[in-house]
Amino acid sequence: MTDVRAGDFEGVAGRPVPNERERVEAENRRLAEERKKIVRDGPKLTGEKLAARLDATWRRPPGIIGWLATVDHKEIGRRYIITALIFLALGGVLALAMRLQLARPDSALIGADRYNQLFTMHGSTMMFLFAVPVMEGVALYIIPLMVGTRNTAFPRLNAFSYFMYLFGGLLLWGAFVLNIGPDAGWFSYTPLSGPQFSPGKRTDIWAQMITFTEVAALAAAVVMVCTILKCRAPGMTLARMPLFVWAMLVVAVMIIFSMPAVALASGMLISDRLIGTNFYNAAEHGDALLWQHLFWFFGHPEVYIIFLPATGFVSVIVETFCRRPVFAHAVVVLALISTGILAFGLWVHHMFATGLPRVGYSFYTAASMSVSIPTGLQIFCWLATMWDGRPRFQVPMLYVVGFIVTFVIGGLTGVMVAAVPLDLQLHDTYFVVAHFHYVLIGGAVFPLLGILTYWYPKITGRMMDDMLGKIGFWMVFLGFQLAFFPMHWSGMLGMPRRVYTYPAGLGLELPNQLSTIGAFVVGLAVVLFVVNAIVSLYRGRIAGPNPWGAPTLEWAVSSPPPVYNFAHVPVVESNTPLWDGDGKLPVVTGLRVDDKEMLLTTVVAATPDLREPVAAPSLWPFIAAIAVGIVFVASIFSPWAIAFGLVPCAIALTAWFWPKELKRHPEPVID
């Protein structure tokens, strides 16, 4: 295999067209000259001097242009997290509005039409604009640090993905503010969402928001898979990969397999609405249930796409605060993988009431319940780690305890609704609403708040306030139980979901009042968390590189990390590197310092494989996102938008991938 840094004539040119011969040779002499100037890190170039040079190479241009052009995974990850948290606040405020309306029977506070928009916006915002993106954001920020590399794979694709996500969110909320928010529920069942029963643009906007966020999620997923498989530090074999990275690998693959389903479904919905196709139109040989199958083929994996990253968080926190690796590492990895696989076989459990063939019932039931096995084993492994370790109950660990106490309830109610005979009663009642808030908030949001507290010092360089953190935790935890436990009860008393009001005298008054009070406590707690985060930004105690005494690589660099993450590429010799080392960080050297470069390793054994040039900052991903965005939005109004829109998109994408200079470079830098 010829070494192409040499870019030499024999190496690349094979048998060139004769008249080119001198040109090529001259070119190669120039390259040989240039190669002499290349600077690399090494024992001679290290410490301050190296830091300064790397900083000069990696820093992005300043100002708004630089802000839009950045390809730094840390900036992009931060944007993802902050944007998603704003959507949590917005979605939460809608929830509080719903709770106010439901506080009293026959309440006339909020009308039917407005309420229907509220729960649709709440569900869509929470699932598509908060829960999934926030997990991606955290992963995009932390994974390169955790696996010991300088940036994600395809950093420009990464930037593009954020802008697509942002535009999708703005589209949905812009529409809502103009009172054309969607109102067909977060799974927009046809035919209710079809052309006949949802005239106007509301559903089209919902469907295009889906397209935006799915494009963003798919792009982010590809970035994550490639980063995890190819960019790990030398020595970080699959077996030594941290559990959070494993979780995100499984999740990214799940995204790749599941998101096309909803994108396709919403595409068909739009074309039914806009150009008169009949996919879901029973009158023309279509089928309303086709939508449900496609949606839930995505929708069920979706919930584990939200949950598995959270289990990754839990593993991280448990490990650090129990002062030992998670018990039975291999079992946890297998649990993650098998959950990921099983998740694709369960979607019908959302459709029990549609009259599926009765012979299948027991099978669906068994299949749905079987997911409890991997999850149950994971729960055990965390508890065993605590039992065998020396847990310190700082704020992140409190959230883990809250997670176990709460999530398991949600999981168990999940097992109940998995049984067809029970689900036929409980389906579409507040019992299900209780189930999924226990698993979504208890199972995903609690660990998220924990991990944000945990990684806050790494991201900002300062600690969050401990006292406020503890108060916040107890408010969220108790407020949550108060808000959602009574929903099991109102569900059993026959309260269907998605009703803007309910009659007095059914015994629903008390549980709903409690829920409303609890909801506001949770709301306050979230505000408190945000306030704590903002105040600590200025007042917080300076953290230092490794305030929690954690074992993984992200804590080997300063807080916040430098733009280039690692001055020398670290080497990994165990699965808790910072606990097992001799106090020094083993590294490899030889990457370029005068140009952006990162190290690729082999997929399984993580032995050094290639030196990958890293893309320079560029405005084109942003411009491409604008172009694509315009097409998506315009296509709501005319199918022709797609035809015409292709041109600007093509231009933007070409410019994005076109090498920045056509002069040969000793080591080409092209994304």
């Binding site: 039917a112 209710l192 106490v405 009574p486």
Partner: protein, 341 residues
């Protein structure tokens, strides 16, 4: 710890629910075979789940308490963090086995419940077709004898102990037929035939409600179900088959004329009169029903006035337009409707 309180609250809440509201609209109603089997199965699941939950919590507490005993902890401080307590491995296997057993037990329980529900639901003696509309229920009692087929709306009468086959259809979007006290739900899907069989075991009045979100007034798409003795049921059926009584006095006559010639007749049907619209609830025996506008309001003079005068303010978005009757027209119409017993 608060979860203990939660646990107790749980059981309390359920029992409380069980005793006080079982008559009307609740999973605890158990007023039909399905309802009963549901409840039994529910308690089994709850038992197993509470047991597993207790184990989880116990282990959690043990872990928290044990941290005091520092010396033999397998942690980085003692340099033994890559070892783990031998007990854990065996416990892990035990736990896995337990989960397996628990799940199998539940799966089997659910299988038998499902089967006995299926068996109970055989040998139907009565066939009713319920058709969903935004946002009301069209009800047809089928009979081989055409003169006995009956059309009504929003109020379903069932004979005690008789297996009733309820065919479900939809004229617009997906709805879901659900009478919690009697049985689980079943969707009504345009372009598909679905159905459910119910064997009522308790007489009484129960409330059903559309359980699949179907648009603006999904919340007010309710249904009254009356379970009565076979004799009463037959009496009711025969009565419902009668045409509407002729207007007896000038006022009701005026109402009759307006309703049967005016806009109402375009949508509503009144047996034995020219009013023969099919797209809205049948009014032949309107006043004999317990509720108005698909359970939105209790039946009564006041509500009839309010509804006829301005349906849009009482059930915003529903498909009945506000016509704006003159006061005397309104008096007449309501007076006539009240005679439709």
């Amino acid at each position: 710890m608060s979860f203990r309180r939660q646990g107790r609250a749980a059981v309390l809440a359920l029992l409380l629910g069980a005793c006080s509201y079982q008559r009307y609209q609740s999973d605890f109603g158990a007023a039909a075979t399905q309802g009963r089997q549901f409840l039994t199965l529910f308690w089994i699941f709850l038992g197993v789940c509470l047991f597993m939950y207790a184990l989880v919590i116990a282990f959690l507490v043990a872990g928290i308490l044990r941290r005091r005993r520092a010396t033999d902890a397998n942690v980085v401080e003692t340099g033994r963090h890559h070892q783990s307590h031998p007990l854990m491995r065996t416990t892990l296997i035990g736990w896995a086995a337990l989960i397996g057993v628990g799940l199998t037990a539940l799966a089997i329980a659910s299988f038998f419940a499902d089967r006995s529900m299926a068996e109970a639901a055989t040998g139907e003696k009565l066939s009713v077709t319920v058709t969903g509309n935004q946002w009301w229920w069209d009800i047809r009692y089928n009979s081989d004898d055409a003169s006995k087929t009956l059309r009504t709306a929003n109020e379903l009468h069932l004979p005690l102990g008789v297996p009733v086959r309820i065919q479900l259809a939809s004229n617009d979007v997906i709805h879901s037929f659900w009478v919690p006290s009697l049985a689980g739900k079943q969707d009504l899907i345009p372009g598909r035939e679905t159905g459910i069989t119910i064997v009522p075991k308790k007489t009484g009045i129960f409330r059903g409600q559309c359980a699949e979100y179907c648009g603006t007034q999904h919340a007010h798409m309710a249904l009254v179900v009356v379970v009565e003795s076979y004799a009463d049921f037959i009496k009711w059926w025969d009565h419902q088959l009668q045409p509407a009584p002729a207007p007896a006095n000038p006022l009701t006559l005026a109402g009759y004329n307006y309703v049967t010639s005016g806009p109402c007749s375009a949508c509503h049907n009144i047996g034995g009169t020219p009013a023969s619209g099919q797209v809205a609830p049948d009014l032949t025996h309107l006043a004999s029903r317990k509720s108005l506008a698909a359970g939105a309001l209790p039946m009564g003079k006041g509500n009839l006035y309010g509804w006829v005068a301005d349906p849009q303010s009482l059930k915003p978005g529903n498909k009945m337009p506000t016509i704006g009757l003159e006061p005397q027209q309104l008096h007449a119409v309501v007076a006539y409707l009240e005679t439709l017993k």
